[in-house]
Symmetry: C2
Subunit: 350 residues, 2 copies
């Protein structure tokens, strides 16, 4: 790797002094307090003064010093979102939804991640706490409830699609067991009988989705033995597909779209087409994992509702609600082209 380096011009030492409230007050001849109230749109200031202040502030390039403001007011107007994995589009979608609602309520959003590592997730959470953000939304995180709940006493925490045992937290989640059951039953209805599951392991909804798959299979009198995987990345899907190659099922329930996607691609490399040879259903209905028009049949967890409800719960907490809420959202089947009727099913309907 060649690397061309060049030094260019130079500029101010880097730390030009920022304009303060005092500067604005001096420039307009009013008190600091009046400036503060003007700029924040609070009552108690004449319209004329407000105009002058606003103009002066702009001219001076004044920007509120948030640390100072937070220290004095004990509120920052910022909420933190901690996502489990930056690589999973599900989280990207969800944080889009969170931002939209948060911004509509005058809150700014900052992101953190633990890269699927519990200790680093915890550090991200502590960072937000140190910053004294107004609250945190945890999405798809793997941390244990025991570690998070004590923090909730100082700073409201809402868990989204994670922390199933966190009873002392506001929580909004998808009924993953139901979702996986719906996915499985969809394939069964299409006439498939040999159905495999690529599961997610212990993270987030992995267990519930596995349970949903197993229950649906048993209820249909089918064997739920073919289970591979143990993660939520596309590598999981690829590796799982390889394992399934030995005894190829006619359909696969993947624990997430990303996983399904990895499996589809890997199968293709082995000359196995989806849905031609194998039907594949994903989970999450995440935009990027299903980029190609309508390809991947999947389970939609209404992640936009997940996100907006999470912010709403957080805002309620900021407004003083002392109880904790639990919301379970019902998932939905989204039928696309990656699943088709079983070849035999077409003729004899079972």
């Amino acid at each position: 790797m060649l690397c061309i380096v060049s030094a260019r011009g130079m500029s101010a030492t880097g730390s030009e002094r920022e304009a303060t409230l005092r500067d604005v007050a001096a420039a307009t001849g009013v008190s600091e307090a009046a400036v503060s109230m003007s700029l924040r749109g609070l009552p108690g200031v004449s319209e004329k003064t407000r105009q002058r202040v606003t103009k002066a502030a702009e001219q001076l390039g004044y920007r509120r010093n948030l640390p100072a403001s937070t220290l004095a007011a004990n509120r920052s107007g910022i909420i933190g979102v901690i996502v489990g994995d930056l690589h999973n589009p599900f989280f990207a979608d969800l944080s889009d939804a969170v931002s939209a609602v948060a911004e509509a309520n005058g809150l700014r959003v900052l992101l953190g991640t633990g890269y699927y590592d519990r200790q680093r997730e915890m550090e991200a959470l502590e960072t937000f706490r140190d910053l004294r953000v107004d609250g945190v939304i945890l999405v798809g995180a793997g941390i244990e409830a025991d570690h998070v709940e004590p923090i909730d006493a100082f700073m409201p925490v809402v868990a989204v699609a994670c922390l199933p045992r966190a009873d002392a937290l506001d929580r909004v989640a998808v009924d993953d067991q139901l979702g996986a059951r719906m996915a499985t039953e969809h394939l069964i209805e299409l006439g498939h009988t040999e159905i495999a599951h690529i599961h997610g392991g212990s993270i987030a909804g992995g267990q519930d989705r596995l349970a949903g798959f197993t229950t649906a299979m048993h209820d249909a009198g089918l064997s739920a033995e073919q289970v591979v995987g143990g993660g939520f990345t596309s590598e999981t899907g690829a590796k799982g597909a390889v394992e399934l190659l030995e005894d190829l099922p006619s359909a696969i329930v993947a624990c997430s779209d990303l996983v399904a996607w990895g499996a589809v691609a890997e199968l293709a490399r082995h000359g196995i087409s989806v849905p031609g040879h194998v039907s594949v259903i994903g989970y999450d209905n995440s935009t990027t994992a299903a980029p190609v028009g309508d390809f991947l049949t999947t389970i939609d967890g209404h992640r936009s509702e997940l996100g907006s409800r999470a912010v709403e719960l957080l805002i309620q907490r900021l407004n003083g609600r002392a109880t904790r809420e639990l919301e379970i959202i019902e998932p939905q089947l989204v039928t696309r082209t990656s699943t088709v009727a079983h070849p035999r099913g077409e003729n004899c309907d079972g």
Copy 2:
């Protein structure tokens, strides 16, 4: 969408008082200043005192109030990273690299994004400025240099893989024109003559990559007319592939892996296999976009170096460097299985 809601127990009003430095001082019988220095590992405190202080702090669950600390010290120990798109794994990889180096240097990382919208990117930048973070790394952002450069006077900003005209900023970038040329020449060497490009439009390296493609084609005496696309999402790839269906080339240079991936999937839906019928080369070598072992031939931009160099430049600025640096990293071809010799090329070598 059914939604089950339930209210559960209730807990403290939410705002338990946090332990302060004063509390720790009182508990140990030393001054606040001594506590502060102990906890920060500064010299000037006896080892015995430090031990006692550390223990008391832990027992009290003390956590430094970062706003207060930032206000007093004018440093926060936090840097902000603004990424162009949460959905593109390239950014996820890059921010992984940034975090690693930053954390090794005692800096904590927070993320922001503008969702490919310039105004929202600007807001993210202002948020970081308001927070008085120590510096910001802009990766793949679409904001204009004019808007960013003034802010650099107050808070160091490093641009990564974006802002090509920002001469007053520290900048580290990949030579995208060279990269696209390498990609194109790779296909030409494989015997392809009808090569199309799915381009990225005006964002980040889109222009340079297009230029590299065009130059390489012209230099080889080939036509560079078949250019479709205009974005960096997988949808761009899918749509581009559809356009190319009419007059199918034997090879495609995509402006990013995500785009290549979208194209590959779309082609598959039309019964066209890669590399069987068409060779496809991507750009970025991003992990998630090439999940399946070794499939997608691509151009590696050494994003981990991009990320670590960016942090290093930022740290230099924090340590007082007044000049601005520009680093151009040379990309590298990564040959995998999505590109093969042109059928005719196999026989007559061109």
